[in-house]
Symmetry: C2
Subunit: 207 residues, 2 copies
């Protein structure tokens, strides 16, 4: 139905998460009707994103890349001296950092695992930033770890695994989890801000 360059555009857009065929077409036609400068700004921002954004060397959140200093990037939260380094909130993905930051309650720092355990998908503990988490706890004076993984199967398995690993650490660290105030099987990303703040406040010690 489409000419080849339109088909390619629809196909590429349709690969984005949450974009079905109808949305992909709608966006493609919007792009084709937009002023050329708007379209090239969009293309440039997408094309340069991978160069301009990298991982925070501390917590593996997204961070702005520093030109000429690879591996030196740190996110705004880790760079903020007013954030409490003794409390680490462990999340699966950078988008969960955003969700918790929006709730406004948490004043500590984060550690992004970059996924959750899912053996069926080939994600084992080695694929996650767990070794780096343990090193941070041992070296940064961490006294509390809040396990804030998704309340779904993979997230719960990851939290359970982390509880066991944290027990083995030489120093004593308080391990807490937010209660399942969110519906089981849902995603932290879609919880409302008040629920998240409340859940963080009501966290209970699990070991």
């Amino acid at each position: 139905v489409y000419a080849p360059p339109i088909q390619e555009l629809v196909d590429e857009l349709g690969r984005l998460p949450g974009i079905g065929p109808k949305s992909a077409q709608r966006i493609a036609f919007h792009i084709l009707k937009s002023p050329a400068e708007d379209v090239s700004r969009l293309a440039n921002v997408i094309g340069s994103a991978k160069v301009r954004v990298t991982w925070c060397r501390h917590c593996f959140n997204f961070a702005e890349a520093v030109a000429g200093a690879e591996g030196e990037a740190q996110c705004e939260i880790c760079a903020n001296p007013r954030r409490d380094p003794s409390v680490l909130c462990v999340v699966e993905e950078p988008r969960h950092v955003v969700a918790i930051e929006k709730s406004g309650w948490f004043k500590g720092r984060y550690h992004v695992l970059m996924g959750a355990l899912s053996p069926i998908d080939g994600v084992f503990a080695e694929q996650l930033r767990i070794k780096e988490l343990l090193t941070r706890i041992e070296t940064e004076g961490v006294t509390e770890v809040i396990l804030c993984t998704d309340p779904d199967q993979e997230g719960s398995a990851t939290a359970m695994y982390l509880r066991d690993r944290l027990k083995e650490l030489p120093q004593k660290v308080k391990v807490t989890q937010i209660p399942v105030g969110l519906p089981v099987g849902s995603e932290i990303e879609f919880a409302d801000e008040l629920t998240l703040a409340r859940a963080l406040e009501d966290r209970r010690e699990v070991s």
Copy 2:
């Protein structure tokens, strides 16, 4: 909450139709986690779309641009000698061509108005491809014009306006409209294919 390059990416994506702030963030983070080659392919396809796609010189549908032959592009439907040139289906937007093509019933050609009358938005008859439509009818042996604008306020006003203009033509042309089998106020784009095919078949002569 975001580093500047992430904020720019989220902002640009959030300007696309149907993409709210949560979707924009989801897509942005997906892009940041995707392999660099996938991201540059997406950026290139978007960035080159405006150059590779232009308007069909006959019907104003989207058409693949011909290098070195500006203004010569024609869409695949107009280029197809098996499409009946005596029946013109008049639609507001290229996406409506796609919807009707998918219904599989229509074997004639199209004329895309590139909008609908909406004086409040500054869209008058001169902004639409109405003059070109009248010229086509006079010169291409058109015997039937199907007015297939959206069944909403602007689309109905456009159809009514076109009925009057078509009456003034020197030659006799049959003017038909699809019945409102779709809910009033909805968009043709979102109708299912069977409904559209049925509605096209049941079209009635209105003048």
